[in-house]
């Protein structure tokens, strides 16, 4: 069996005020082309199909069209689950009709224990769930303590799946969690490289070792895969500046009747890239500098300005050059951490002086009399509040 593994489509998501739908449609066209070229036997979509529980009408229309092109036009089976961003109950609509055409879309924990089977594989589709869902499913009270954490719940769920295993077949799990293993132990902490994980507790990868391949969704970077046989495909589109430098794509996974699972990463080129620029304002508005980047309208830009420009209309000026700017940030010349360290050493100063010094360290400018007055007023106000 040969699968295309993708996840985290987040159809309908916006990048600040910018609509990503056209970028998402283009990424989908590439996914479809990859699926055709690789002659896959099915498509795995590991959750977060939509970006929100009640998606916009045009997001629904786009998603419907994508499913139709893959499942009805190309005749490919689809193995999909709801992620934490999806409205599980709402997404459950029409499931029975989908299933008749090999479009499998699980949104409820109870649906996860009946694998989709063919001659070679059993595919278990486990949607995102929380310990509360597991307690309801297993009729356990919270007081029993048996299903208090997601790891306890996952252990029980996986044990029940293993009972369904047919030993002559390969076993594939599709799920949507933050799974931590040997290769990504520090990923949750390294916020520069992982995307937001939604504040969810991580799952221990050891709980999932019974499967031949675990197709994951949730983390948006494929680099965050916990180990060789448990992989994140990542999102097909860049959703935040932390993902800007990373290539996007899907996995083509070969699951032979026996022997090693093989997988290959197939890249998706963004219709409109997300580019992070760090530069001084003077550089940013200089033609020789900005001509190295895609033209206005051809990319989304996140701009970090390294100084404090003394001009009005910074955003408008930059938008005239760069077009769609999703974010403007003013970076301090020194790192905030350094400044903080210095500040700690200076605790003998008065509060006002301390703040003034900090301002100077960060901005390279001296605090003026008016600013000083504002700070003093605020400090008086704060003290009054404390004494109340």
């Amino acid at each position: 069996m040969r699968f295309l593994h993708t996840a985290d489509w987040h159809i309908g998501k916006q990048l600040n005020q910018y609509d990503l739908l056209e970028v998402q449609k283009d990424a989908f066209r590439q996914i479809k082309a990859i699926a055709k070229k690789a002659k896959v036997d099915g498509i795995i979509v590991a959750g977060d199909l939509y970006d929100r529980a009640i998606p916009a009408t045009r997001a629904i229309g786009a998603f419907d069209q994508m499913l139709k092109e893959l499942n009805i036009e190309l005749g490919l089976p689809i193995y999909a689950i709801a992620g934490n961003h999806d409205g599980a109950n709402r997404l459950n609509f029409a499931r029975s009709w989908f299933g008749k055409n090999e479009l499998y879309l699980n949104t409820q924990l109870a649906e996860a224990f009946t694998p989709i089977e063919n001659d070679e594989c059993q595919v278990f589709l486990l949607p995102f769930f929380d310990p509360q869902d597991a307690r309801i499913y297993y009729h356990e009270s919270i007081e029993s303590g048996n299903l208090r954490t997601i790891n306890q719940a996952m252990q029980r769920v996986i044990a029940d799946m293993i009972k369904q295993f047919k030993p002559e077949k390969r076993h594939i799990l599709v799920t949507h969690f933050n799974v931590q293993g040997q290769d990504n132990q520090d990923y949750e902490l390294t916020s520069e490289t992982t995307s937001i994980v939604g504040g969810l507790k991580s799952i221990d990868s050891n709980l999932l070792t019974a499967f031949d391949y675990v197709a994951l969704g949730h983390l948006h970077l494929w680099q965050a895969s916990p180990n060789q046989k448990m992989r994140y495909s990542g999102s097909p589109v860049k959703f935040n500046t932390k993902e800007a430098k990373n290539k996007k794509g899907v996995y083509i996974v070969d699951v032979p009747k026996s022997g090693a699972i093989k997988y290959e990463f197939a890249e998706i080129k963004p219709l409109k890239d997300l580019i992070v620029i760090k530069a001084t304002y003077t550089d940013l508005i200089t033609a020789t500098f900005y001509k190295q980047y895609p033209h206005k309208g051809q990319a989304f830009f996140s701009i970090k300005i390294l100084d404090r420009p003394q001009v009005k209309n910074v955003r408008q000026n930059l938008e005239q050059i760069y077009g769609d700017i999703v974010e403007i940030e003013y970076m301090p010349a020194k790192s905030t951490t350094e400044a903080m360290t210095k500040m700690v050493k200076r605790t003998q100063l008065s509060e006002t002086a301390l703040i003034g010094q900090f301002y100077q360290d960060v901005t390279k400018q001296t605090i003026n009399e008016h600013q000083q007055q504002i700070i003093e007023d605020i400090l008086v106000e704060l003290k009054r509040e404390q004494e109340k």
Copy 2:
């Protein structure tokens, strides 16, 4: 061909704060039983499937279940359209998969020109649309004046449907409008007997005479059918006090290969009826009076009190006896119209006296000093506002 014709399910509707879902589910069970008993070949649902464009999750779940029971479990073809209450684009999701199992659900005007065909019939599913939709579909500007009104648009739409007619077959139209014909000319004006029509212009029934049967939705009373071969099935559930006295049900329609169409009304008994009571407060709280009505919790009540009870907690007192009261109205002893006529004759009185006299006419009680003061204060306030 034998059809069950129903419409205006409005799944998820509330009667004031009261949830109708259980009543709607029960009505559906009866529809299903009628369909089985009558051995119908298909189910027509003529629009307003949901009550709103973005239905609640449990309304979606209930509707999904109903479609599943009819179409997948009983294997019945479904001929459905979107009504003015439905969110057409949102409801369009999964349409392609439904169609593969003979669940036909049209939500867009463009879909209406491809009839569903079998050996005997061509069924045209024309969802609710407005002149603007027709102008977009036909690429006509509003300035041309050709598709300004719904009747102009309907004429063109029907003409294009007639082009598709196969003369050896019977032609059925399913649509969702306020259609006016010989039998219901005064229905829109008679607000006691028709339900709200959504402020929509009516369609001339003469535009639809090419069809052998027109299965209508929109008006909630089957009694409002425009003529013998264009019929409203009405809603299966009572949605407002104007519908309280009328029987609810569905039509079983026989469309033979040739000859007259026959139809029969099959009644649905409400799980919880909607009962309108008009009585004095004293009667309402007297056991011999209220024992003639269903017990508390067994019905919804709309209560019109014929006098002005001088007690506190009228609603709480009545709720203790009747349970679910969807509406309490105080009826004036004389009709408001009569009182208004008298008032017009008395315009020589001061404003305060005029209001006092009106109060007395309506309530049979003299206005007291405190009330008089309030009225004067309000009048002063109003004059100040005017002079600003």
